[in-house]
């Protein structure tokens, strides 16, 4: 699966790695729900590092569409919360 880290580029992950990513993603939802800023930053860094370290980085001239888009490294919990509020998943 090809994933993109916004602002950084694309990586290819295998199924096991995607499953790993999925785990972090689930915890991320809880963290955003609990408004835990510190944990959010740590988890985001962990998630992006996981992709950077384990994935195969696509060459600059490889043209491919990504299946999954990851937030940029400097994304804040507030920014992400706004995405969810649009959907009404978090009631405020």
């Amino acid at each position: 699966m090809i994933v993109r880290i916004q602002g950084e580029g694309q990586w290819e992950l295998d199924q096991t790695q995607v499953a790993q990513l999925d785990k972090i993603d689930n915890e991320m939802v809880e963290v955003v729900d609990a408004n835990n800023t510190a944990r959010f930053a740590a988890l985001l860094a962990e998630m992006l590092d996981f992709v950077r370290k384990n994935g195969r980085k696509l060459a600059p001239d490889e043209i491919a569409a990504s299946e999954l888009i990851l937030p940029p490294a400097d994304a804040t919990l507030e920014e992400v919360r706004e995405l969810f509020q649009d959907e009404g998943l978090i009631s405020v």
């Binding site: 916004q6 993603d25 939802v29 060459a59 600059p60 001239d61 888009i69 959907e87």
Partner: protein, 251 residues
């Protein structure tokens, strides 16, 4: 829904908007390529713009640093003149300015990172557009209409995704720069109104300035008085000094 799925959906909606604007790519491979080049130029301009804004912030930071250095000198002057109270006022202002400076510098560092990432993103987009140029010739030459459609669609989507990404990154950098400039502007405002301490400019006219000027003026008056006294009462003065008188009269 997971966080990533949500983010992906929103991002892909943006990509689709970019795609919708494109003409039917099968008919217009060359046109699509031309548009990509145009878009690349737009991005380049936007990145230069952000770099310029950053440089302005850096100038402001240098100015603030110079102000802080001058405050340091002033505090020493005040202390040398035995005016601890005045030194304390200057140092308090210096601390406030230092805090602002640290804040400004942290933000400039963030912007530096972002600038580097934008430069990398621009390089990626350039490489992809170049690859697209080659691919479109291959597609035109080798594939049937149906096959070509799939290939073209893949290539155009891939490029549009890259463009959406760099566009979003530029937007974020712009917002960040604007916020920083607003804050830097607020610092200027504080300096201008004397709240933050433009204690440094000659004739700047705030309280500390006047006080230091008064101290320095009175010191120079004292010196001049001493010099004049010395001239008038030269013999007396010489008697108190090591013995030039007798030795000179002997020779």
């Amino acid at each position: 829904m997971g966080l990533l799925s949500r983010i992906s959906l929103i991002f892909k909606a943006k990509v689709n908007k970019v795609l919708d604007k494109a003409e039917n790519p099968n008919e217009t491979l060359d046109y699509s390529y031309e548009r990509q080049l145009e878009q690349l130029q737009n991005f380049k301009r936007a990145i230069v713009e952000i770099t310029t804004s950053k440089k302005r912030l850096e100038l402001q930071s240098a100015q603030l640093k110079a102000d802080i250095d001058r405050m340091e000198t002033q505090a020493r002057q005040a202390l040398a003149a035995g005016r601890e109270d005045l030194a304390r006022v200057v140092l308090t202002r210096k601390a406030t300015a230092q805090q602002q400076l640290d804040d400004l510098n942290t933000q400039i560092n963030t912007l530096n990172d972002q600038q580097q990432k934008l430069a990398d993103a621009e390089a990626r987009l350039s490489a992809k557009i170049e690859a697209f140029r080659t691919q479109k010739e291959v597609i035109k030459a080798q594939y049937s209409a149906a096959q070509a459609q799939v290939r073209i669609s893949e290539a155009v989507t891939g490029i549009s995704e890259e463009m959406t990404d760099i566009g979003t990154a530029i937007e974020r950098a712009r917002n960040k720069t604007a916020a920083m400039q607003a804050r830097a502007g607020a610092i200027d405002e504080l300096v201008n109104t004397g709240v933050l301490a433009d204690v440094t400019q000659v004739g700047g006219g705030n309280d500390v300035d006047r006080e230091l000027a008064r101290i320095s003026a009175s010191a120079s008056v004292d010196e001049e008085l001493a010099r004049m006294k010395a001239e008038l009462g030269a013999p007396q003065q010489h008697q108190t000094l090591p013995p030039p008188g007798p030795s000179s009269s002997q020779s």
